[in-house]
């Protein structure tokens, strides 16, 4: 298959997936639990992205004091919880990552 055809179809598939429920939700009848479930989408998806980034930063699971990403992530969670401030959370998390990397000699 020509690479341009692959890209065009891949783009169309991606776009259709993103459009799917934006287009469909008013047109089809969805069960009540489906609508109630929507409020859990952001916390569930983002948590499922965050946790492996912290626990397996290099592709292998590492839950230990020698994992600077995990320690810095815990610092960030604490700062986010106390301050609810996005920029402060990012700054604290990055600073913690650098400190832990230096302390752990990575």
């Amino acid at each position: 298959m020509n690479i341009w055809i692959i890209m065009l179809i891949a783009g169309l598939l991606t776009f259709t997936t993103r459009l799917s429920f934006i287009f469909l939700l008013d047109r089809i009848k969805v069960p009540d639990w489906f609508r109630r479930g929507l409020r859990f989408v952001p916390v569930a998806v983002l948590s499922a992205i965050i946790v492996p980034e912290l626990t397996s930063p290099n592709g292998t699971l590492l839950i230990s004091w020698h994992n600077p990403q995990l320690l810095a992530g815990l610092v960030a969670i604490l700062v986010a919880w106390r301050t609810k401030n996005v920029l402060l959370t990012i700054a604290a998390g990055m600073a913690a990552l650098i400190v832990f990397q230096v302390v752990l000699g990575l």
Binding site: W4, A10, S20, G37, A44, E53
Partner: protein, 230 residues
């Protein structure tokens, strides 16, 4: 609370998306450099960033194309990797239902992980401006521009990034900053904890299927806990 004007909404979307760019730009550079290294033409590499416009799927697609994988397999993989966007689509759908078809098409095109994360946070906060889709547009266009620009730089200059470059860590940090304050009740906490745990256990599943599975199990957990509390 006075509703923000369209202009204010647009620029707060731009502003809130901006920190994420620190984490996204290195990936754009890497993608541009990778696409060239697997013998994609400059034009094809750049076109992939604007036609597909989905980071993880582009990395995998470029690698598969480079290794001579059949087109159908590439398409199947791209589809599976991007399935999580259907969840984002369902999640933003109630907020954009009254918009014109043109707006819906445009916002669907811009619905990436990073734009979704800040936009859904904005939508679910207090306040009910009728022009919040301008925020979505601001966030989406900001990410789009950065992705195109960083791809181009990666293509023409290459990705001069050291191996232990830490800026990619801005992405999970931003998501932490968005999720943690949104955990207001037990059902939401349970959804987040279970999704995180399953995500950890399924981290090595291929093509982001672990992420999708974790999110779905987390959502069901939230529903079950919410149902039991009533």
């Amino acid at each position: 609370m006075i509703a923000k004007t369209r202009k204010q909404e647009f620029w707060s979307g731009v502003w809130d998306e901006a920190p994420i760019l620190l984490g996204v730009a290195p990936f754009g550079l890497l993608f541009g450099a990778l696409a060239i290294s697997v013998q994609l033409s400059n034009l094809a590499a750049q076109a992939m960033s604007s036609i597909i416009f989905a980071g993880s799927a582009q990395f995998i697609a470029a690698q598969l194309i480079g290794s001579g994988t059949s087109g159908l397999v590439v398409l199947l993989v791209v589809f599976v990797v991007n399935l999580r966007h259907a969840l984002y689509s369902a999640s933003v759908a109630p907020h954009v239902r009254n918009l014109s078809p043109g707006w819906k098409l445009l916002l669907a095109y811009l619905l990436t992980d990073e734009a979704y994360a800040v936009t859904i946070t904005h939508y679910t906060r207090e306040g009910d401006s009728p022009d919040r889709h301008w925020y979505f547009l601001g966030a989406g266009l900001t990410l789009w521009s950065a992705w195109q620009a960083s791809t181009a730089i990666g293509i023409f200059i290459g990705a001069q990034i050291p191996a232990n470059w830490p800026l990619g860590f801005v992405l999970p940090l931003t998501f932490i900053a968005l999720v943690v304050p949104a955990l207001r009740d037990r059902a939401g906490m349970a959804a987040a904890c279970v999704a995180g745990l399953v995500g950890l256990l399924a981290a090595n599943f291929p093509y982001k299927t672990g992420l999708l599975l974790a999110a779905l199990i987390g959502i069901v957990t939230g529903l079950v806990i919410e149902g039991r509390q009533k």
